[in-house]
Symmetry: C2
Subunit: 300 residues, 2 copies
């Protein structure tokens, strides 16, 4: 079955202690759609400006991503994020953000997008996530991602969103910010009360935890000796997850566990290059190989 | 087969935001020996002063721990550590340390201790760990634990120790301190070059990672919603590990993985009470139940 991904389509300029990379393809929807495309037909919903390079459109197309929902504002500027990583690649700071065409974007789903069964609301302002849900017809499964910014400036809209989605993805510090709980398991218990049936907490190199009606699933991270650029890893994670989920048949909870593992693996590829460079070099075969590795690494 | 545990036998006074607990049974060897005793006959090697309460000797005995190697210095004081935990139980600070009889202790193994096949050098000064190895006869498997203090003040002795043990256990920040590597997998690669065939990095609530000749094993932590007192969790982890290992037959690497899981579970009990209070309430049955839970939590 097919996947709809909505989120930011951006240009990222990323500085690390070793390199400077201007105007890479970035944004939550770009990373997530590329990741999802390995598993299921993927439709992209986003907006770009007249400065958006044609080569990035080709890159989406190479992955078979449907671009009917990618709006072009010819006289506008693409959302542009500039950031810098510190020596250990753990701390990131934003140098500059130009919202551009995303600031006043109001998403409109092309006709055949409305019935997409699997929907990923990748990280973007909650009102846009709401606007997409408003246009959906009988979705099977909706996953929402978010970031600390929306908890800071749009908490009521985010809380309202949590009642409208099946699964909610956030990282450890966001879970703490939302619940004031240090313990992830205690935090998840509180977040369930806000609405989502399934919660996935991302712990970066420590893996991820799923909480659902049948309890927890503790997922390992793929062991990487070297991280080139972690930008977009969380988006690749949710993208791989929704893509795998759309492709799987049978028991939902079992599929969710496998989806998290497949998301973990697409995220591991993402970390091995700047932007989507390493993710786009992956194949379904190289992904399946790492999934098999993870199975062996976690067996006891 | 039997286990020899050497380390500190101490009194711990532990302050948390919610309670104050003076003169609990503590020390690396106490926690580790109690944990090991669930799986294998366990011999304790340590030293206490005349102030060591008889009730703690009874507690060791209740666990069937052999005390032939527990030296009593009648006119000396038992090693006493006082510490305080902050609100989130993540940060610990030492308020006071009285070394007492441990300061000038030179361990002497009772005759039948020398041939113990499984040996845990729990956290204690490296010269004492060396002195124990010097007295062993054909040990099958030696695990060494340590702490940052010994890296700071006795690094040459610790490095010499690493060439004499089969497995080395440390936490993430110690691995970073020892190798200057942020990435645990890169750090483990460097530590192997220092000697140990097997390395186990403890990541607290994020689980543990084993590195050996056949690659990595990524172990989940047992999900605890509430941590009462994490003091001794690392010692319970290695204690449960060596105890299970001594009880297991067959393939070493497979047994090491299961040993880590059993250590994880004994450590989870330790966190649920002050000192060894919750650990001593555990049974082999309650441990096996949590191991089964972990199997289900990690399956995909």
């Amino acid at each position: 079955m097919s996947v709809l991904v909505v989120g930011t389509t951006a240009l990222d300029s990323i500085k690390t202690p070793k390199a400077e990379n201007p105007r890479l393809l970035g944004g939550s929807a770009s990373h997530a759609a590329v990741a999802a495309s390995f598993f299921a037909p993927t439709k992209l919903l986003g907006v770009v400006g007249g400065d958006f390079p044609a080569k990035y459109l080709k890159l989406y197309q190479k992955h078979g991503i449907c671009l009917k929902g990618l709006e072009h504002v010819r006289d506008g500027q693409t959302f542009h994020w500039s950031g810098e990583y510190e020596v250990n690649m753990n701390n990131r700071r934003t140098l500059n953000t130009v919202l551009g065409v995303i600031e006043h974007w109001s998403p409109k789903l092309p006709g055949d997008y409305e019935t997409t069964p699997y929907v990923l609301l990748a990280n973007i302002a909650p009102p846009i996530q709401h606007a997409v849900i408003d246009q959906l017809e009988r979705p099977k499964f909706i996953i929402a991602d978010t970031m600390d910014l929306w908890m800071n400036i749009m908490l009521p809209e985010l809380l309202r969103l949590l009642k409208r989605v099946d699964a909610f993805v956030l990282n450890e510090s966001e879970a703490h910010q939302l619940t004031k709980e240090d313990n992830v398991f205690a935090a998840m218990k509180k977040i369930h009360k806000l609405g989502p049936k399934y919660i996935i907490i991302k712990k970066g190199s420590h893996g991820a935890v799923l909480s659902g009606p049948n309890g927890f699933f503790i997922a390992p991270a793929y062991p990487l000796r070297k991280v080139v650029d972690p930008t977009g890893a969380g988006d690749s994670f949710v993208g791989g997850m929704i893509g795998y989920l759309a492709s799987a048949k049978g028991d939902l909870e079992k599929n969710l566990r496998r989806a998290i593992i497949h998301g973990t693996v697409t995220a591991s590829f993402c970390c091995e290059g700047f932007g989507v460079v390493a993710t786009t070099r992956a194949t379904r075969q190289s992904i399946d190989l790492r999934v098999k590795e993870l199975e062996a690494l976690a067996r006891f």
